[in-house]
Amino acid sequence: MMKKAGLLAALALAGASLANVAVAADDTLRIGVIATFSGPYADYGRQFDAGIQLYLKDHDGKIAGKKVEIVKKDTAGPGPDAAKRFAQELIVRDKVNFLTGLDFSPNAYAVAPIVTQAKIPTVVMNASSSAITTSSPYIARVSFTVQQDSAPMAQWMLKNGIKETYVVVADYASGTDAHNAFEKAFAAGGGKVVGSVRTPMNNPDFSAYVQRIKDEKPQSVFFFFPSGVMPPAFLKAWKERGLDEAGIKLFATGEATDDSYLQATGDVALGLITSHHYSYAHPSELNKKFVKNFYAAFGKEMRPSYFAITAYDGMAAIAGALEKTKGDVSGDKVMEALKGLKLESPRGPIEIDAATRDIVQTVYIRKVEKVDGELVNVEFDKFERVKDPAKEAQ
């Protein structure tokens, strides 16, 4: 008897909370954020959170006239199973209208079948594997693809008289993507990749690889490593072995000089030329305002990185889509509105491709310089309206 009474009470409670949700859903917009808020990659979540909060602060906490409620879920790093479970929870229990965040590509892929079934519009704020947007019609991306940042570097190098290069990438999916996209673009323009190596992810000491490059004497080297511990280790070995003095030129994607880690990387990064979609030193008025507000809100401890800007733009994209649908949050209408959506982001003009739901944006060529005693990526050349080369090829 006791058991039954308990069960009834529980059911009643559950019913009451469900009723609450249903009422609340009308005047609030619920956005689920799946990202990394703890562990070695907690910086990603912090940057996302900062970008989201900044957008809400700039817009009185409202999107399309509705109060916004953010529900955060922590995957503590790459964790497709956790991401999938969180997506289910957010949709079924928290009744979110949008899903966003998604820093790691495996997490984004894991969420795809769930959002397809539930028809929940999903805005990818970082995950950069090309096929994520093809894995569900309810996914749009405001960040970048690895190929999108890698190919322009090859084009720029060719334009500047570099005809041969040696490719170094980390041995994981994105490393392979960067390698292929770079080599394809480089070969298409008449360049030649004279050698390549894929280094293990957990590699503390790069001196053997760097020594090998020094002995092979290529004209230049292009490398791709994920943000964080690998680029500084590689750059240290590079300087220590005197490869600059040996006349070998070094190029990379912007992950190597991620604004979050650039200060800690130190002077070994000076002079490095990289290609990327965002530098916090981007000289537009909109970006100056963004950085100023960012520091005002969160202090100068943390630089706004490309995670913060894509989170900010992700919120802007949701707002832009809801403006078109006049506040209608139904999945199909929102996705229709996202297609072809154009925004003036602090990083420059961006657009969500109407055909692929992937981002079209300017990719900048930057050089690390010391400005007011701080290391920053100074943009000096650019490629406009770059689409994802992996999708263009199909």
Binding site: G39, R198, N202, N203, D205, A208, Q211, V229, A233, G266
Partner: protein
Amino acid sequence: MLAILLTVLFDGLAYGMLLFLISIGLSVTMGMMGFVNLAHGAFAMFGGYVATTLMQRAGVPFLVTLPVAFALVALASIVVERLLYQRLYRRGPLDQVLFTVGLTFMSVAGITWFYGPSQQPVVLPAFLQGQVSILGLEVGIFRLFLVAVGLLVAAAVVLGVERTRFGAKIRAAVDNPVMATGLGINVGGVFALTFAIGSGLAGLGGALGIQILGLTPAFPLKYLVLFLIVVSVGGLGSVGGALLAACVVGVIDMMTKYFLPEIGSFIIYAVMVALLMWRPHGLLGKKS
């Protein structure tokens, strides 16, 4: 070709010395005291953070931070040993493993709380940077420094254990604690001091290693496998064995990464398996 071979050989030796410096403390605690201390990396990380904090916040020169890292980590470890570790000396290895893994996770979370999850900047003084030419061979100055410190530490530990009265007490306390107590040896005190020295060496290794290994809160978990390879291949409790194993691992790792970069990362594990199949007690380990 010979020059290349020698360069890679030297780099491998220097890398091996670093592995030795960072693992020798584990060899001391695990081999001599018989305690499975998987939190060893946490002590090394603590040493690393002591060094960077002193350099960044207080402008202390790099060389001064090394003994400070040793001393501070050793002191802290005495506190931890008296409060926690000594309760587990008589327990089985599984309890010790569970306890020290838990301690590792707590240290990772604690460091993240204070320092944040990102990489700490490490800048070496100018006189340790760059390369010098010795007999026509280009060698990194910092690597040369690592080799020198590694040899010094190895000599100090070997002499300390085998030639001093304290070393004799450690061996007595480990072999037969009851008899040692009967002879008037303060076994608890000897263990605490041994543990402190082992942890202090970890702290020193951590401070020396940050230039090459980098420093994030993930440090203790990321490099645990390397420490364990060195200690198990070398043979428990054998300082010479740990030195030999570290150099073998370092040189083979460097050689394969240079000459066979496609499979270079895998070789180190294959070598470990092969060596342990050949000598299950490690290169210089004693049969127990």
